[in-house]
Symmetry: C2
Subunit: 202 residues, 2 copies
Amino acid sequence: MARRADHTRDELTKLVLAAAREIVVEEGFRGLTTRKLAARIGYSAGSIYNVFHNIDALIIEIDASLLDELFEAVTSEPLPGGVEPALKALARRYVVFVQNNQNLWNLLFEHRLPPGEVLPDWYYPKLERLLAIVEERLRPLFDDSDAAAVGRSVRLLWAGVHGIASLAGTGKLKIISSDGAMELIDDLIDNYVAGVRANNRI
Amino acid sequence: MARRADHTRDELTKLVLAAAREIVVEEGFRGLTTRKLAARIGYSAGSIYNVFHNIDALIIEIDASLLDELFEAVTSEPLPGGVEPALKALARRYVVFVQNNQNLWNLLFEHRLPPGEVLPDWYYPKLERLLAIVEERLRPLFDDSDAAAVGRSVRLLWAGVHGIASLAGTGKLKIISSDGAMELIDDLIDNYVAGVRANNRI
DNA sequence: GATTGTAATTGAACGATGTTCAATATATTT
DNA sequence: AAATATATTGAACATCGTTCAATTACAATC
């Protein structure tokens, strides 16, 4: 059989992506194989390669859509005023999103590109605009001239929250129960921001 | 061929472990395969399964020895006095160790057990005694009665440093240059500890 | 409408992977 | 010397991602 006209190239792309997400949601990212994917959409494994260069490219696409959805989840409602409340609300939405999308989130953070491969250029802005939300709320704590310090804080908080959520999610370190993650994050924000206030006297 | 007496069971175990570490150091943890491992020690792939239940068990063993070495690296010299200097020194030794053992460290934090499998009981104390070092230095910041708060801080700082080192190491988020990781960690310690001091007034 | 060109789809194949296991050969015990 | 136990192997199994010649349907051209 060849050249069915069941779907356009574009439809097929979306079909593959949707089926891949389903598999990851149901079975985790170890369950995502080309043959299972092909079976689910009623095409052959080879057809996937007509639409994606390889499985890594597929995964990157899923990751990208996840980041878009995180942005959506984090910005859909207005944030409360005040630095700490805003940051805590952001972190809470982040953690809730991660918990609601555990398997997909694991895909995003546990998947490693083969050595030498790099993420496509369009990928990074999706992250940057997430960082920008944090930066906006953090800026009042710093002197206008000290843009470097703000950038540092944003990245530090992002990495910190990621570290907590990651260790809580995998349980690998047995450090943090999933419930306790939010507690730790609140602690981090409370004390870090207090420290910044104290050290910057603003 | 069968039943050579080249090595005792114990020697073979150590041979396998040593060869596995070499491979990971040289090629990253994706390079670690049973056949390559077998070839390097001059045995067949099947022999590895005489000594380790499977590859995951082997990796856990490598992880464990790495944690032991980290403990060694972190405690070999006395820490400076004062909370911030001690914590920063600890973090610095941690980061240096991670940088000096990048591929092995990636193995430790990127390897995931298959769903359902759990780490053996003897694994966790190796982590706990690392956390205990941090806790010892952090305790002066807290009221004696507030043991929960100290525990939170320890785990939070550990997860935060892990998050920073992890994102710096993988470059996946393009957030942090490897050089900048230490800067972020210092920032975290400086401001977090200042915040704890301010909030606890001790 | 017939001919040509283009692009999609497949199934088989390739070289890997982790793991299992009967067969075998050596040590050890009786 | 015979019997038992154990270490070792190599082939086999079921996977995996990926490639590609062959096939077929559609689109463009005449």
